[in-house]
């Protein structure tokens, strides 16, 4: 086998190895036929043409696969996937609302010392919810991970908000 023919076969062989599995049969078919091409230069031209054909086929196969994947990622599926996450956020918000309501009730209580307002604010609106969120996340992480991520993200948002709030009101 001449150098030109061998080079042509090697190029096409390399292209077959890197093409999608569905295309490889056709690649091998083209490669095998190159053995029957009479002249060396014609064999090289055959291999180059085959590489172009294989490249086009591989691209179309990859695009079809991508199209299928995009269709699978429909809005309905995304919403279904986000439902546990949003539930986690909702539960965290409900708990925070209860804490805020408790703080508000405390402020209106006759026995409450108004000088302790700042401390009560920090405990009821930051420390208590954050502790509850952390406990919830630790309890649910293994069994209901997405739900726990919802609670965790709410906790992170609350702590960031608290840090910004305290920093700007110091």
């Amino acid at each position: 086998m001449s150098l030109i023919r061998r080079t042509a076969s090697r190029w096409l062989g390399a292209m077959i190895r890197y093409s999608p599995v569905q295309c490889q049969d056709w690649g091998h078919a083209m490669l095998r036929e190159s053995d029957f091409v009479e002249s060396n230069w014609s064999a090289l031209r055959w291999a180059l043409g085959s590489m172009a054909a294989l490249c086009r086929y591989s691209i179309s196969v990859e695009l079809n696969a991508l199209d299928r994947k995009c269709r699978e990622l429909s809005v309905k599926r995304i919403v279904r996937g986000l439902r546990p996450l949003l539930s986690g956020v909702a539960v965290a918000l409900i708990f925070l609302s209860i804490c805020i309501a408790a703080f508000s009730a405390l402020l209106h209580a006759s026995w409450f010392d108004q000088a302790q307002q700042r401390l009560a604010d920090r405990v009821l609106i930051v420390a208590v919810p954050e502790t509850a969120y952390l406990a919830g996340v630790m309890a649910l992480w293994r069994r209901r991970k997405t739900f726990a991520v919802g609670i965790l993200s709410s906790g992170v948002l609350l702590i960031v908000h608290a840090i910004v709030h305290f920093a700007s009101h110091m």
Binding site: E33, W46, G49, A53
Partner: protein
């Protein structure tokens, strides 16, 4: 399925020996099409179930060869398309002759 002139050429080559299995290089020689044009056509025809494919082991120790043959659906489709193409061409020739 819209067929190009080259696809018609390939189908016409298959119609020469409709029951026989043909090799890629053999079709390339009879149609004059290069591998870069021929194989996308063969792939498309096979995907549309107009062409059946098979592997043939010719010599021991050598990789098998891919062979192609029209399916029953492919045979009737090929006959129809080649006839329509030839009719269109003869009509064009007649019109060209009338103009000149």
């Amino acid at each position: 399925m819209r067929l190009s002139r080259q696809t018609i050429q390939v189908l016409d080559a298959f119609l020469d020996t409709p029951t026989e299995w043909r090799y890629g290089y053999d079709i390339s020689r009879s149609t004059g099409l290069k591998s870069g044009t021929l194989y996308p056509i063969l792939i498309r025809l096979a995907e549309h179930k107009l062409l059946e494919t098979s592997w043939e082991t010719t010599e021991a120790g050598k990789p098998p060869r891919h062979m192609y043959r029209l399916t029953r659906k492919g045979l009737s489709s090929a006959k129809e398309h080649v006839r329509a193409y030839n009719a269109g061409r003869s009509q064009q020739t007649a019109l060209g002759g009338a103009k000149s």
